[in-house]
Amino acid sequence: MSGYNFAYLDEQTKRMIRRAILKAVAIPGHQVPFGGREMPLPYGWGTGGIQVTASVIGAGDVLKVIDQGADDTTNAVSIRRFFARTADVRTTTRTGEASIIQTRHRIPETRLREDQIIVYQVPIPEPLAKLEPSRAEARRMHALAEYGAMHVRLYEDITRYGHVSISYDYPVLVNRRYLMAPSPIPAFDNPKMHMMPALQLFGAGREKRIYAVPPYTEVRSLDFEDHPFRATRAPHACALCGAADSYLDEVVTEDRGGRMFVCSDTDHCETRRSAREAAA
């Protein structure tokens, strides 16, 4: 696009963001403040993820963008177009073909590889925010690894409901040190972060924080020995591809309560369906 640098951001800004990413990789799960820029998309639409992607993307990269697991949701379309326009990179909907995957609210069902980067869009990077609204105080708690308040929160849930009631953005402990917000992915996706071969980068644009989980890093969802973490999904099989182990969207089909359950990861679903058709 004329008048703008490759991938929109100027090179000085990219260098600044890459320095923040390197620091984040060196301290897994620690939130690194960075001089986030205004982007031509609004805060809340993925400006942190876009800045991270813009800073790591090269001309040879192949980009996949998903929102709610789907490539065809409007915001995913918009961000994919943004990079096609500003960086002229190849885009794909295939998880296996992508070198960079930017995501909002999901981790693909297909296991990611060492040569891939997944970039999460993060609204609230501070996992303690709901317990301690002051970022200055939360920062102190991280420095001291003072995470008792979060354990108490989980314990209170268990005494009240018999289980933890957090269903997404379920807090994790990274590399046995930093409490981290996995972004609002369903808790179902949390186990995929553990020892993932791909580099995981997290960008929070409005809050101006970057954090990372390097490949093959321990990521544990907080739990108790007698109440181990449990990932839940709708107890159905996908109505389109029959998958019984993928995360499902509930689609209301008519106004008398009819609904169907289908894979949230559209690439996963389509790949399974075409494989089935090929076999038939």
Binding site: R37, P40, Q68, H105, P123, D169
Partner: protein, 363 residues
């Protein structure tokens, strides 16, 4: 199939954008607005967009307003997203507002003062009656300006001469820049003022107002409001002396507030400071109220009200950040909602089972 209908994002976006362009233009039989008309006749909106867009360029602010259909927050956002791509080649020298070419200057704390009171183009004493003749009125005769502009000392200097006003803080040499360094707490006053200068006017107004109603009172008096043109100077390294790169219109407000004194400082007046692009008195006044209330901690006052809480005010004052995060709620959230559905179904099942067991036990 119904499920397919909720997809199709590509075509939906294209159609939406086409419709938006159509709605923006309105009835094509009416002449289109020109940027010059917006700049000249909707000047206050242009001023606000420049302030919240943090970029002084009247023509671009007018373009942003046109593109945003007059939505001031959206226009400020357009300007911010443009501003952030601009290279920086110099930092301005401190503005000398004492040397402003004033078109308005009022003080509420003296009947008269050196330089005098000058109402200028104000709505303060207009009757807010709709002027039904305005749309067809011929241009008003040019206003009469009397006398030559004379230097007007700033109010702080007048009070300072008697030792009643706290002295200006020492020049820190360089100031922070939250467009390059993310906000961190505790935030120093230079960064606080920068954040407030770009902040949403409604937010400033509401919180400034709250200090007057008892939530962090500062006993404010308008020491001075001045509106006028001032030169922006830079020192290019290859020259080594200041050169002017142009004049901008500014509104400055010095709010004089009470300070009861401490063990080390006798009672004196303290300042709240407000500065805004263009003619923006509401903005500059509200900003000066908040600047002062945010100094509560450093002056040893109790921090009890929202307007005194630096982290609260600075984290929520930016209209671009706020509108983004509030409005992002309309993006799809169905994956998280699905996980909430499963959780609440499980909790309801548990609760009903529990009720059943209790009922059985009661039998």
């Amino acid at each position: 199939m119904a499920y397919v209908a909720v997809k199709g994002g590509e075509r939906a976006i294209d159609n939406a954008h086409a419709w938006l362009a159509d709605a923006r233009r309105g009835d094509p039989d009416l002449p289109a607005l020109t940027l010059a008309q917006i700049e000249q006749q909707l000047g206050r909106a242009v001023d606000r967009v420049m302030a919240e867009g943090a970029l002084h360029d009247r023509r671009l602010a007018a373009l942003a307003l046109m593109q945003a259909q007059g939505d001031v927050t959206e226009a400020a956002f357009l300007l911010r997203a443009y501003r952030t791509t601009l290279p920086r080649f110099a930092a301005g020298e401190p503005l000398d507002t004492a040397a402003m070419h004033l078109r308005r200057r009022v003080s509420a704390i003296y009947k008269d003062l050196p330089g005098g009171q000058m109402l200028g183009p104000t709505t303060d004493y207009t009757h807010r009656l709709l002027d039904f003749a305005l749309p067809t009125a011929s241009p008003a005769p040019a206003a009469r300006r009397t006398g030559e502009p004379k230097p007007m000392p700033r109010i702080g200097d007048i009070l300072g001469a008697e030792g009643l006003m706290e002295p200006d803080a020492a020049d820190p040499g360089s100031s922070g820049d939250l467009t390059r360094e993310p906000l961190a707490f505790p935030a120093a006053r230079d960064v606080r003022l920068q954040a407030l200068a770009r902040a949403d006017e409604g937010f400033l107004l509401g919180l400034g107002y709250s200090t007057q109603r008892g939530y962090g009172n500062t006993h404010p008096f308008v020491g001075e409001i001045r509106v006028g043109e001032t030169a922006v100077e830079i020192i290019p390294p290859e020259l080594g002396f200041p050169i002017s790169i142009g004049d901008i219109t500014l509104t400055e407000c010095q709010m004089v507030t009470q300070f009861r004194g401490s063990k080390t400082t006798p009672p004196q007046f303290t300042r709240g400071y407000g500065l805004a692009f263009g003619h923006s008195e509401r903005r500059a006044m509200a900003m000066s109220l908040l600047d002062r209330s945010l100094r509560a901690a450093e002056l040893g006052e109790d921090v009890v009200a929202p307007a005194q809480d630096v982290e609260f005010v600075l984290s929520h004052c930016d209209s671009i950040e706020a509108t983004g995060f509030v409005e992002h709620l309309k993006l799809p959230h169905y994956v998280d909602f699905q996980s909430e559905l499963e959780t609440i179904r499980r909790m309801r099942a548990d609760a009903m089972r529990g009720a059943l067991t209790e009922a059985e036990a009661a039998e």
